[in-house]
């Protein structure tokens, strides 16, 4: 096992290898394990620290936020025009955002994959061709359906309400093994049951000889002419600040897997991938909305699997309902008012149920360089998606009322909860977009793959169009949003890219 932390470095360091992988999440971990097992000398660089899975599971949610969530969970994509601003969450830790997901593993719909294959004329991207890579990663990360017995009362209430009005629900698949329903997957599992990549692909990579370097912030790709020869960056201290010491890793190939928000920044800082004008554009987010409902009965939605069931009944309208629950404090924060007004709602937290609604968006986001090393994200929601927001919220409120909810809390800043008779008259259509509370866990598309160098950043193989030896293997290469949680697809795409590199 070879792990080194940049925190301990008191000098500049130069290394060399066959492949340097930047980022240790769903994309980077898969690439590192696959290439190391194929006999290549791999160095993996991660900006964040190491956090043991069991230690993460013992943390309070806010300790997880302050330790490994990027910006402590406060990253915002600023809404432009009539668009909501969107809280975009990700992690900076060994294992990347796989450490803070709910573990949901969907394959992309065949129509999405076949559409990519057809429109981009990439013949090995259709559902049949991708089946091999999906099957491998499903086995590797132990994807299994969530048993009905692990559904929380919160989830069951929404399902009961939906089924009363003809909306079917299904069990989700997740990468878990031994889940007992602690309801806190995204803040670490107390049983180590969430099979994030720190528990499978990264140990495999290490066993096959890969070196894992943490607390290493990659700032640019080193090039000679039209070929990349490695990466350069700086070590990071325990306060997440760059130290004075630099590292350089020289390699035959560079694989960038820093995620859709960071890979474009490295490329831009390196002066690469500018030709198409697509770098940093085409950002899709899967804008998501939490709707909460108060019931007369105690719900205690935190007992059970955090995410367990979904409905794609309104798939044609670009909407998916995903079960979810959040810590008490997040529930309370979504309730209106301060002081006495807020207290009368927060005293009823045990009676609150919650469900999530997600849009299969058209994109419209963009990354900009900003002060320091973090990007500025902006998001202009398409007219079609914007029109879907009130419809999504009405449908979710209707389901909760059908389940017997006394009141529903819509995600509109400062709005009072509504009762069943209020729903028809709720002014959702005329509410300005910036007043909707919206979140995203799925930034995608900022280095889109394609077969036309004028409209894409990477080739169908994952290699940059304008520089040899630089590959991208994270959510940024997905040409469009998926309408489903993308973790499994990112892993499968990374497998596909890795297979090309091995061969």
């Amino acid at each position: 096992m070879s792990r080194t932390s940049g925190r301990t470095m008191d000098r500049d360091v130069t290394l060399d290898c066959d492949v340097v992988v930047v980022g240790s999440g769903a994309g980077g971990a898969v690439i590192a394990a696959t290439l190391a097992e194929a006999g290549q000398r791999v160095i993996l660089l991660e900006e964040g620290p190491v956090l043991d899975a069991m230690a993460h599971g013992r943390m309070r949610p806010s300790e997880s936020l302050r330790s490994i969530w990027r910006d402590a969970g406060m990253t915002l994509a600023v809404g432009i025009g009539d668009s909501p601003s969107i809280n975009v969450t990700s992690a900076r830790v060994l294992g990347g955002s796989s450490m803070v997901t709910g573990g949901v593993c969907f394959r992309a719909d065949a129509e999405v994959l076949d559409g990519w294959s057809r429109e981009l004329t990439i013949d090995d991207l259709d559902a049949n061709a991708m089946d091999r890579w999906y099957s491998e990663v499903e086995r590797d990360v132990h994807v299994e359906p969530v048993p009905v017995s692990l559904r929380s009362r919160s989830t069951n209430l929404f399902i009961e309400g939906g089924e009363k009005i003809g909306i079917p629900f299904h069990s989700m698949n997740r990468n878990t093994n031994g889940c007992t329903g602690n309801g806190r997957c995204n803040f670490g599992c107390p049983n180590g049951a969430k099979m994030s990549v720190d528990l499978n692909y990264l140990p495999r990579a290490e066993r096959a000889g890969a070196e894992l370097w943490t607390d290493c912030l990659v700032e640019r790709v080193i090039t000679e002419g039209t070929r990349a020869t490695g990466v350069r960056g700086r070590f990071v201290d325990e306060k997440k600040e760059r130290t004075q010491f630099h590292f350089s890793v020289f390699a035959k190939r560079v694989v960038l897997a820093g995620g859709a928000a960071y890979t474009p920044l490295i490329l831009r800082a390196s002066g690469l991938a500018k030709r198409s004008g697509a770098l940093g554009r085409n950002l899709s987010l899967h804008p998501s909305f939490r709707v909460m409902a108060e019931f007369d009965e105690p719900v205690r939605g935190w007992h059970g699997a955090l995410q367990s069931a979904y409905s794609d009944h309104f798939h044609a309208d670009g909407m998916v309902f995903n079960s979810v629950f959040t810590p008490h404090g997040v529930v309370a924060a979504a309730m209106p008012g301060f002081g006495k007004h807020h207290a009368r709602f927060r005293e009823r937290i045990a009676n609150i149920a919650m469900f999530g609604g997600m849009l299969h968006d058209d994109g419209g986001g963009r990354l900009w360089r900003f002060f320091g090393r973090e990007p500025l994200m902006t998001y202009r929601m398409s007219k079609r998606d914007r029109a879907r927001v009130p419809l999504l919220l009405r449908r979710m409120a209707e389901i909760f009322f059908s389940a017997g909810a006394r009141r529903v809390f819509l995600p509109v800043f400062g709005s009072e909860p509504i009762e069943p008779d209020d729903l028809a008259g709720a002014p959702l259509e005329s509410t300005h977009g910036r007043l909707f509370e919206c979140s995203s866990q799925h930034p995608l598309g900022t280095c889109r793959m394609g077969s036309d160098p004028r409209a894409s950043v990477v080739r169908p193989t994952g290699e940059l169009w304008d520089v040899k030896n630089v590959y991208v293997a994270d959510g940024s290469i997905l040409p469009t949003s998926l309408g489903k949680n993308p973790q499994l697809t990112i892993m499968a795409m990374a497998k596909r890219v890795a297979n090309r590199l091995v061969n």
């Binding site: 997040v330 045990a350 400062g414």
Partner: protein
């Protein structure tokens, strides 16, 4: 100032729990990194300066009596100040509900 306005039920907020919250908030912001610290400070500054305008008062939030402060913040969160109000409220609520008493209260229910 904002935490006191948020968690005052009838009269005043629980002082011991507020002290615990402020200590934990300090640790949270110290460990979260420079950008979250800046974002949080901006949210507090914006709320402090502009929230009183929502109830027609031309002063800072800290100069308002507790009940007026709660009312100003409540009004402000439904308007342009919704995002900063939610950001501040989210962090304060997450920490508040992690106080050791919450588990005890939960088990007692």
């Amino acid at each position: 100032m904002i935490a006191e306005a948020l968690f005052a039920d009838d009269g005043e907020a629980n002082a011991a729990r507020l002290d615990w919250l402020i200590r934990d908030l300090d640790d949270f912001l110290n460990r979260a990194g420079a950008r979250p610290r800046l974002v949080f400070a901006l949210c507090v500054a914006v709320l402090s300066l502009f929230a009183p305008l929502w109830i027609g008062r031309f002063t800072t939030l800290s100069d308002l009596p507790l009940a007026e402060r709660s009312r100003a913040l409540h009004k402000a969160e439904g308007g342009l100040l919704g995002p900063p109000a939610l950001a501040a409220k989210a962090i304060l609520c997450i920490l508040w509900f992690e106080h050791p008493d919450v588990d005890r209260e939960e088990r007692a229910r």
